[in-house]
């Protein structure tokens, strides 16, 4: 198996500790990434999930970060896309002109992997603000490359903690467009393909399960739930801010000991994102 570089255990986490919901989410998300794919990874949880996939089952996946790191095999977890940890032994150092203006725009990125503050039932993502944009209740850091990645990747995978205030009927601001997004000419929400766009969100991985999008209506539904953590479909409905379909949902296969061990001892031993 592809352990790229073993790192020392810093946190001293007991290997037998029960899987947390953050760990569960990252393990499930990492499984959606595959060998051979070129994956453009956003900062934060997507970096953790992609690094885990690279170590456990997808060593031949190409991990690309928007700032500089290309086909990176980090020895230690980069905590942002410009971190020297991601640059170490990268074979080539592009800028955003090449990564975002060429690789991404020229349709060479198979998967975009994103987080955010809010997601809605059409997979629109908000990482800009809560409340009205011009007079926000809470202002966040902003898109970064998320909007570009959501518009231009072959498909996107979204990772986000499952809370009612985050899973909403309609996001307060569409930073990164999903299936039904803003037509700038009319202000209405339309199918992204009517705007000449390709791609679109394929899955949302949360702390409760894995959601997908109906091929007809493009509305989010529960595909898998984390029964091994005690998550029920009722609880998922309760923690979702819109009426989400749960018929046909299956329990997700539980995490393997190897995935948890690599996550805890190699990928995020400090608990920077996993908060041990």
């Amino acid at each position: 198996m592809g352990l790229i570089n073993p790192a020392p255990v810093v946190g001293g986490n007991a290997e037998k500790a029960p899987c947390s919901s953050l760990e569960r989410m990252v393990v499930a998300a990492s499984r959606l990434l595959q060998n051979g794919q070129m994956v453009l990874v956003g900062t934060g949880l997507p970096l953790v999930g992609a690094t885990l996939a690279k170590h456990v089952h997808a060593p031949k996946m190409t991990v690309v970060m928007e700032a500089v790191a290309f086909d990176s095999k980090p020895f230690a977890l980069p905590f942002c896309v410009a971190d020297a940890r991601g640059v170490y032994r990268t074979p080539w150092m592009p800028t955003a002109v090449e990564v975002m203006g060429q690789f991404l725009q020229n349709r060479r990125i198979d998967v975009g992997f994103l987080g955010g503050a809010q997601v809605d039932k059409y997979g629109n993502l908000n990482s800009t603000c809560m409340g009205s944009y011009l007079h926000p209740e809470k202002r966040f850091e902003g898109s970064g490359g998320a909007c570009d990645i959501a518009v231009l990747s072959g498909k996107t995978i979204i990772i986000m903690v499952h809370e009612k205030r985050r899973f909403v009927e309609q996001v307060d601001y569409i930073t990164s467009p999903g299936w039904k997004c803003r037509d700038h000419r009319t202000g209405r929400l339309v199918d992204r393909r009517e705007l000449g766009m390709w791609g679109g969100p394929s899955a949302v991985v949360s702390t409760m399960g894995v959601m997908k999008f109906d091929p007809e209506s493009h509305e989010m539904y529960v595909d898998e739930y984390f029964a091994d953590l005690g998550v029920t479909l009722g609880a998922m409905k309760e923690n979702t801010g819109f009426d989400i379909r749960i018929d046909g949902a299956r329990p997700a296969p539980p995490p393997k000991a190897e995935e948890l061990e690599v996550l805890r001892t190699v990928v995020d031993p400090e608990g920077i994102f996993m908060k041990y």
Binding site: C80, A84, M100, L134, P136, S143, A150, R182, G196, I272
Partner: protein
């Protein structure tokens, strides 16, 4: 008069006029021109229009210190360290009260806008932004300023039908034309050739787009030594106008091969900047009450500075702990 570009930070920042369009290089918490930014604040610059792609603590500081009237950026923040409270506070208060306007862009369109500026083109086409509220005309935060403030393009974006191929609608984004570009580099030659390591980000394009480029550097080296390995150089001397020798000039952000992020700084700053009063006290203690960067470094202390030093092969410091709630004091 010598034709040397070498000068002090005070002299270099003196070249920057109030109200200008200012680009800061680096990327969020990496290789930001912090020493020059501290000096901007000390000199009390006003009404700046900031461009960053993306911005980090330097933007939060300048906005909090009241030096800024406009920002155009895809992101302003400190990555996983914590939130940009000064920026957040000003945006939440609203431009009617603060006179400060922020416009949101993306990494790709920010890069293309700088590329257009670097090429002397008025705009660049992009396939990004579609479907997003970033191009929702009802949500243009600069709307009332467009056509009045010459630092801003007359409209945020425009659309054309591709006249050459499939005829699809393409979005046009306006060039960025910074008056001044601030870069912190690992090395700069005494004539101005810049060598960046561990990623140039958009710094080359910004230097090409700007009228005046000021480079601070960890060290100044003989120009001749940079000619030994020209492929490692990033920016030619001809577009660099001022050079400042400034070790730890990007502190608390990371400089590949020199030092890592200073988590203690971020812990201290984030705690203080949560409230406006705390931000003011922090700014006084760490910027306004100090004469220059040497005094700042002396105040940080040798022990802490040494503890940040990067492994020369890895480029970072593998011992640095980045989780602020579990930080221990340097000993």
């Amino acid at each position: 008069m010598s034709d040397s570009k070498l000068m002090s930070a005070r002299e270099a920042v003196n070249l920057i006029e109030d109200g200008c369009r200012l680009f800061t290089g680096g990327w969020t918490v990496v290789r930001k021109p912090m020493g020059l930014v501290y000096e901007l604040i000390r000199q009390g610059k006003k009404n700046l229009s900031l461009i960053s792609n993306p911005g980090g603590p330097e933007i939060d500081l300048l906005v909090g210190a009241g030096c800024v009237s406009l920002t155009e950026s895809n992101y302003i923040g400190h990555e996983v360290f914590g939130h940009p409270y000064s920026f957040r506070r000003k945006v939440e208060e609203g431009p009617e009260r603060t006179g400060y306007h922020h416009d949101d862009w993306t990494v790709q369109t920010g890069a293309l806008r700088l590329l257009a500026g670097a090429m002397g083109l008025p705009f660049m086409p992009t396939l990004s932004l579609k479907g997003s509220d970033l191009i929702n005309p009802d949500l243009d935060p600069m709307r009332e300023l467009r056509g009045k403030d010459p630092r801003l393009p007359k409209q945020k974006v425009a659309f054309i039908k591709d006249p050459f191929w499939e005829g699809e609608e393409v979005t046009l984004v306006p060039a960025l034309r910074p008056d001044v570009c601030l870069i912190h580099a690992q090395e700069v030659g005494e004539q101005g050739t810049v060598r960046l390591k561990g990623g140039a980000f958009l710094d080359y394009y910004a230097a090409m787009a700007a009228k005046l480029t000021i480079v601070s550097a960890e060290r100044i080296v003989p120009e001749d030594s940079l000619r030994d390995l020209p492929q490692a150089n990033t920016i030619p001397a001809q577009v660099v106008h001022a050079i400042v020798e400034m070790p730890y000039g990007a502190h608390p952000t990371a400089v590949w091969g020199f030092y890592d992020n200073d988590p203690w700084w971020f812990k201290d700053y984030l705690t203080a900047s949560k409230e406006e009063e705390g931000f003011g006290a922090w700014l006084k203690e760490w910027v306004l009450d100090l004469q220059n960067h040497d005094e700042y470094l002396a105040k940080i202390g040798l022990k802490r500075l040494m503890s940040l030093r990067a492994d020369p092969v890895l480029g970072y410091n593998p011992k640095i702990r980045r989780r602020l709630d579990k930080l221990q004091e340097v000993n």
